[in-house]
Symmetry: C2
Subunit: 304 residues, 2 copies
């Protein structure tokens, strides 16, 4: 099969593939094709399961075309909506939010859920799902525009600016009953502000530490001892995960999330840069929060 | 009811009650009776549920006699064995091992379980239950005598001396397939040696940090960032607990543990000091590992 890339998804995990530090996956070798999820069109096929013109979810990576034997491809039905959602709210980022929040975070009605990168692909879904489950959702995002969007469009109870030097104090005010679930996707200063506010039996799903990827350990708190004391005395649960750990939940995710999107209960925003050449700068921007919404690269037109 | 103390249990959690640092329980006030589990005899009763001569499990604390309205008391049947086990292998320490290992650690056959203070009340039960479940059990203890006991009497696969300057290297040798469950009850240098060896999806129940209680945070690793990176990339689960969180499991615990003790599958050792006056020195010794087995204070004779 020959595939033509329409959308390339940019996601923070890619930073790990650009480093030979310890990770759950091997780095991309020098000269290899950078990994990435894509929405692609089948432009030629010797595989009877796929026809020319099919739109598929693929892991074709950062390239305009890819050869595939069909393994791991999933057809996307363009009638169900924007095909780009297959790498966004109805894809890996949405499912990361869904499984991490519901299977590890387990928010109960009336509890307080905090998530950073709250206007992004994962964070936006985390807060909106928390609201659906009856919890309070407090977002953290970079700058006034994103915070306004998170509060006004996504319906979070509040959103704070992580660049605010008063973040810790304001977070405490925004969480008068403490924090029951912290969905950890950034680390760094946000983690430091959140951690003292965790309640007894709080849960902390950990899917990313984007604030630290460029300089692991240097920007993060150096108080493992203090942290472990809190784990003990507050009976915290801290659990790392990646979305594939919950592959068995894919059916539940698609059923619930597509319904919530249809009903307008989960909104999402896309941030598009044009052309494959834009991917490196867009990815560096993603690590700094320059995007506003799910970061996508438009590699080719919907129909060639 | 008037109670006469026969056995006073000394346990590491008591150190937390002697400090006003953050904890899951309030400290004992100055001039208050120090908390502690006891095996006591009822010497007078106006409560129809208890008769003179009954032996009860109580939280009478560090005193020879106590007044009680009967609330929270549990009768102990002396016919079932040594009454001191009610504060040991069949009591709080045994149940801490049972619930933390089985409900959080969830060892699978063939996995490797590591526990420190391995000749003590909790650690000895953790390793023996791990063996019952088909896992490998590696203990860590202080000194040759304790290590020999853990290996030869308790049947752990190996036991290492935490004072050995080569601990990290020897632990790596003893765990050629890495560590799947680390039952954390000590913290400090043992934690530092164990942490890099944790496998993907490893579980870390945290019930204590005895190596750090006298100087919280000073003796513990200062690398929360490195730790969080491992949580993420290895998808670790770190969960603090205290035994009362699993109160609903008490029936299961008593059924299984009493059977294992009867069958000789779980052995236990007691370390007794004589007289209530011995309690302070014995407790300080416990924090340094001067005890060899479950630390008990004989406050009064079995029958007055």
């Amino acid at each position: 099969m020959l595939l033509r890339t329409i959308w390339l998804s940019l996601d923070p995990y890619m930073r790990g593939r650009m480093s030979d530090g310890p990770s759950y996956a091997a780095p991309v070798p020098i000269g290899g094709v950078m990994e990435g999820g894509t929405v692609s069109e089948v432009i030629a096929s010797n595989n009877p399961a796929f026809a020319k013109g099919d739109i598929v979810l693929s892991r074709a990576g950062w390239q305009t075309h890819a050869v595939s034997d069909g393994k791991g491809l999933n057809k996307i039905d363009p009638k169900l909506g924007s095909i780009s959602t297959a790498v966004g709210v109805l894809g890996m980022p949405g499912m990361t939010a869904y499984t991490g929040l519901l299977d590890i975070g387990k928010p109960q009605a009336g509890e307080t859920v905090v998530v950073a990168a709250a206007s992004g692909a994962v964070g936006s879904a985390v807060g909106q799902i928390a609201k659906i489950k009856g919890a309070r959702a407090i977002g953290i995002a970079g700058g006034k525009d994103k915070c306004d969007y998170v509060r006004n469009e996504l319906g979070f109870d509040d959103c704070l600016d992580h660049r605010d030097p008063e973040l810790a104090a304001k977070l405490k005010q925004a969480c008068p009953k403490g924090i029951d679930v912290y969905f950890e996707n950034v680390g760094g200063a946000v983690f430091e502000a959140v951690f003292p506010l965790l309640n007894a039996f709080a849960r902390m799903p950990v899917c990313g530490l984007i604030a630290e990827y460029n300089n692991f350990g240097e920007t993060s708190p150096k108080w493992a001892g203090k942290m472990m004391r809190a784990v003990l005395t507050k009976r915290l649960t801290i659990r790392g995960f990646i979305v594939s750990d919950f592959a068995a939940r894919h059916g539940d995710f698609l059923r619930d999330m597509s319904q919530w999107v249809r009903e307008g209960k989960v909104k999402h925003k896309e941030f598009v840069t044009e052309g494959l050449d834009s991917a490196p700068a867009a990815f560096m921007g993603l690590l700094k929060g320059a995007n506003f919404g799910k970061q996508l690269v438009r590699v080719g037109p919907d129909k060639a």
